[in-house]
């Protein structure tokens, strides 16, 4: 009887203490899992899943496991706002990742900023996102940092003197890609023979390409997503245009080789991640992803994977008190200093300035890898060692 009570008390005590350490860290994920943007959101989610299963499998963070609370924001801005609010106020997550599209981020990130919760984008590359406030982070390198490097290297190696430009003018991603190309072309003093546009969902680019061909450029700058970029390349080859193409971030996807079969050579692309990058962390990521998903990863999965590890590194230094507001603030304070070497290479943060000139959110600092497609592969042309890869100061 006495023994029984002692044992019972001991069991309760053990249970209590072990339940404390078994409390999970809730992390929210708001990505586009249905709708048009799902082709980016789904690989992003898979990248997170892989990272979390690896981290939890090796004991978690200071003994605590990560619990992902995943919501579908459908690629729509109102949905992104709703989902953010649910994750922050109802699920009470520690921080959240997402959303998928820059458009949605512009609408939903202010919600996180106002609620003082870290929001970490892995695929938002447009302007005006990290300037929202100091709780906004992203590890997706913007075109402003990559494009000048790509252009410089491509110009050097192809000897081009003038280019034509083709871009999608109704999508925030391709449009801001174009803005960055324009700035970089002016900085490098490369004249533009003609500028043509297309819209999302277009299937026929021959009028624009014909005009481009007759303006006699040495190369064609293409700011597009694969859905339009691949047919554009195919049709240009069909029209007899054999010039090199210089693409923005959207063209960095192995899907190109399938969609533009036999017509995918001679495309220059810059990106922080390359499937050909032989670095050890990258190779490990690629094979782990292949085993888990039975498919090759793309840059979206890679960036999501690394983003989770960045957060984990910061969390390791934070003592979680269990009081939500305190913990959320502690995470925000610890995150800017996080540095890792992941699948996308060496990474660290750089603070951006807000609209009012005061310091705001955090952008990615990573080296760009410039590649050219050849024989169904992205062949690395240059792996720049310097970190601030020729970026121009942004307002």
């Amino acid at each position: 009887m006495q023994l029984g009570r002692v044992l019972f008390g001991a069991l309760v005590a053990i249970g209590y203490f072990s339940s404390l350490s078994l409390a999970q860290i809730k992390i929210g994920v708001a990505e586009a899992l249905t709708g048009n943007a799902a082709q980016y959101g789904v690989p992003i989610r898979k990248g997170f899943d892989l990272a979390v299963s690896e981290i939890n499998g090796s004991g978690g963070i200071n003994g605590q496991k990560i619990e992902l609370v995943i919501e579908d924001e459908q690629g729509k801005k109102e949905e992104a706002i709703n989902v953010f609010k649910k994750l922050i106020f109802q699920d009470k997550v520690l921080l959240l990742f997402g959303p998928t599209l820059s458009n949605s981020a512009q609408a939903s990130d202010p919600v996180a900023q106002g609620a003082k919760v870290v929001v970490f984008g892995t695929s938002n590359t447009a302007d005006g996102i990290t300037s929202i406030g100091n709780f906004v982070f992203r590890n997706s390198v913007t075109e402003a940092d990559i494009v000048p490097v790509t252009l410089k290297i491509a110009a050097q190696k192809t000897g081009l003197k003038k280019v034509a430009v083709l871009y999608g003018n109704d999508d925030i991603f391709t449009k801001s890609g174009y803005d960055n190309f324009k700035k970089a072309l002016e900085a490098l003093k490369i004249p533009v023979t003609t500028t043509e546009t297309f819209a999302k969902g277009d299937v026929d680019f021959k009028p624009q390409l014909t005009k481009i061909k007759s303006s006699n450029p040495d190369a064609v700058v293409l700011s597009a997503l694969i859905a339009e970029g691949a047919p554009a390349m195919v049709q240009s080859r069909q029209l007899g245009i054999t010039l090199p193409f210089i693409g923005g971030n959207g063209m960095n996807s192995p899907k190109l080789f399938d969609l533009a079969k036999d017509n995918s050579d001679n495309l220059w692309v810059g990106s922080p991640w390359s499937i050909e990058n032989p670095a050890a962390e990258n190779k490990r990521f690629i094979s782990a992803y292949q085993k888990a998903q039975n498919a090759l990863p793309d840059q979206f999965a890679a960036q999501a994977y690394d983003a989770m590890y960045i957060v984990v590194q910061a969390l390791k230094k934070v003592k979680l008190t269990g009081k939500l507001e305190v913990d959320r603030g502690a995470l925000r304070d610890a995150l800017p200093a996080a540095q890792i070497t992941g699948a996308t290479g060496a990474f660290k943060f750089r603070q951006a300035t807000g609209k009012d000139g005061k310091p705001a959110g955090y952008d990615a600092v990573q080296t760009a890898i410039v590649m050219m497609t050849k024989g169904n592969q992205y062949v690395i042309q240059l792996n720049e060692a310097t970190s601030r890869a020729g970026s121009t100061p942004r307002p």
């Binding site: 706002i81 609010k85 512009q106 609620a115 005006g128 003018n169 999508d171």
Partner: protein, 286 residues
């Protein structure tokens, strides 16, 4: 009450969206009653949103004034657009308004220096409060309910049934149609201004064909028998994705199926279903 605070923090955007969607459905209600099939209300919403947002961002005008101007500009455009287009009927009117909508969208996309083009306008101050939406919706509903019962409302129904006969009776059909069109445009512009001020960010692609069709669906689904139909339609279309959230990847599928089922079993809209209740009450009152 903590429960209320959490609820509001999580669902405030949803509630405000219901309000603006109801306004949009009401904006198209009047034109539907007149038999006018217009898809232009999405474009009017866009004009209103951009006007109000630009005024908020760049001029010092108070919120309510920006909102008013955001409602007046689309109404003015509608008054200009109306006379030539309202001569068309049926699907032709729908297509003309669709073309107009696309032209507006392209204009918004290409006037980068004014509207930011594809990059949109962001950082719009959060001025919309719940009472703004509630007051405006109730006001609009009240006005439209009064119309329905009044001579104006009955004239509009008559126009819908047989335009020629109505004209022969000496009523200025064109004026009524124009009135409905312009009032609808104003309401849509108001909804746009309100929406812009609680979503931080707007871009031209939100006011295109998809939105136009969605507004039409709200109107038809709710039913054109009464402004209450618009309320039902607007609320339903807004709530459906939220209610179906648990279904994950099947959400859009169920959304589409529900739309089909509702139309199949109540082609005149959901409001029509309540006529059984209303009919019985009227019979009992006699």
């Amino acid at each position: 009450m903590e429960w209320l605070e959490t609820f509001w923090a999580t669902y405030s955007t949803l509630v405000l969206s219901i309000g603006t969607n109801v306004l949009l459905a009401l904006s198209i209600y009047l034109t539907l009653v007149c038999g006018l099939l217009t898809v232009a209300n999405a474009a009017f919403m866009g004009i209103g949103a951009y006007t109000a947002a630009l005024l908020s961002l760049h001029s010092g005008l108070p919120f309510y004034l920006s909102l008013m101007l955001g409602a007046l500009l689309p109404a003015a455009v509608a008054l200009l657009l109306g006379p030539p287009t309202l001569r068309l009927s049926g699907v032709y009117l729908a297509m003309a308004t669709l073309a107009f909508g696309e032209i507006v969208r392209i204009f918004l996309l290409n006037s980068e220096s004014l509207t930011g083009g594809a990059l949109g306008l962001n950082g719009i101050p959060q001025h919309t409060q719940w009472f703004d939406v509630v007051v405006i919706v109730i006001a609009a509903l009240y006005v439209l309910l009064r119309f329905s019962g009044s001579r104006i409302g009955r004239t509009m129904v008559a126009i819908c049934q047989d335009e020629v006969a109505t004209e022969l009776m000496g009523l200025n059909v064109r004026a009524y149609k124009l009135f409905a069109f312009a009032l609808g445009a104003g309401l849509a512009g108001l909804a746009g201004g309100l929406n812009a001020h609680f979503t931080f960010f707007i871009s031209p692609n939100e006011y295109g064909f998809d939105r136009g069709v969605e507004i039409l669906a709200m109107g038809v689904l709710g039913g054109t028998g009464s402004p209450w139909g618009a309320v039902i339609g607007g609320a339903l279309i807004t709530l459906l994705p939220e209610l179906l959230r648990g279904l994950g990847n099947y959400r859009p599928l169920i959304n589409g199926v529900i739309l089909i089922v509702i139309i199949l079993y109540s082609p005149k809209g959901i409001w029509d279903l309540t006529r059984f209740v209303r009919g019985k009450r009227a019979a009992a009152a006699n």
